[in-house]
């Protein structure tokens, strides 16, 4: 780190890392962010830490449905299908 690169401080940069990742910055903001990274070891490391954090979250798995709930939803489906089948019969009847 040589000298304060520009008007974006490290304290400010860490608050906009998700904006940076999501591409929701203007070109000027992105350029300012990149310029800061180019000259700041601390921020480069923290941006990398965020990437690793996102990757770690991506290794988690979503909860599983319990068998009980799963079968309850199947019942909901079958009851619904039974009622639509009868109403179709009724409406297509003579």
């Amino acid at each position: 780190m040589s000298e304060p690169a520009n008007d974006l401080s490290c304290r400010e940069l860490v608050e906009v890392i998700t904006d940076y990742f999501d591409g929701s910055m203007s070109d000027a903001e992105r350029a300012r962010f990149d310029r800061h990274l180019g000259e700041c070891t601390g921020c480069t490391r923290v941006v990398q830490q965020f990437r690793e954090t996102i990757e770690a979250s991506g290794r988690l798995s979503e909860d599983q449905v319990s068998d009980e709930q799963r079968e309850a939803m199947r019942d909901v489906f079958r009851r619904w299908r039974a009622t639509t089948a009868t109403s179709e019969q009724r409406s297509s009847g003579p």
Binding site: V14, G58, R81
Partner: protein, 217 residues
């Protein structure tokens, strides 16, 4: 990764099968969406039992409404939105209107990093790191995938305010796009991003602590 994202043509096929009353297609969706549907419903109502009831109602709404689904949002987004709409209405009827702050956390305006990590005003390098953060790339590759690491991530997410937790689950655990999450949870673009950033920052901080403690022992 969540298999309901797949491709537009897979999704279209799923919608067609659902319209035709295909039970396997329905159960495919139940397996993938039921847990998050219950969590989202639970944000707005007083008990797990009521949340499960709402999800049941939401599935009926999905079955009845699938004929009108136009594909302007993804199917999973559309389904989650049905859940949250029913849950909100039910919550209001319970006399339990949940303020946004209690779901989102009351710390949205606070800095995500401890101010002590930066040099204070008056210092020549004000706003810059007082101590340079650690380089995680120096760690063995397996560290980040280790069971203990993942359980730190999981337990941190589980203790976040509910909306922060759900945003990071949908975005980072399940890989939904920001547009899908905004739609599903009825969030503005800014709120979605702020919630996600806070959630990530807290998980990062928990990992940093975990790695520091480990390095010292």
């Amino acid at each position: 990764m969540d298999a309901t994202s797949q491709t537009a043509s897979d999704e279209l096929e799923l919608v067609e099968r659902l319209r035709a009353g295909d039970e396997d297609a329905f159960m495919f969706l139940v397996d993938r969406l039921q847990p998050m549907m219950v969590r989202v419903a639970r944000m707005y109502v007083s008990s797990q039992a009521v949340a499960e009831e709402i999800v049941q109602e939401a599935w009926l709404g999905v079955l009845k409404g699938i004929g009108r689904f136009e594909g302007r949002s993804s199917l999973r987004t559309w389904i989650l939105r049905i859940v949250s709409n029913i849950a909100k209405t039910r919550g209001q009827r319970e006399g339990r209107s949940v303020p946004f702050a209690s779901l989102a956390g009351d710390d949205l305006d606070a800095p995500t990093f401890d101010p002590d990590r930066f040099l204070g005003p008056g210092e020549e390098w004000a706003g810059h790191w007082s101590t340079v953060p650690a380089d995680w790339r120096g760690m063995p590759e397996e560290r980040l995938a280790a069971t203990e690491t993942l359980s730190v991530v999981q337990s941190t997410i589980d203790t976040l305010p509910p909306m922060q937790a759900e945003v990071i689950r949908l975005r980072d655990v399940l890989g939904w796009t920001s547009a899908e999450v905004r739609n599903a949870l009825d969030l503005s673009e800014t709120n979605q991003r702020v919630l996600l950033h806070r959630a990530r920052a807290k998980v990062r901080a928990a990992l940093e602590l975990e790695f520091t403690v480990e390095a010292e022992t």
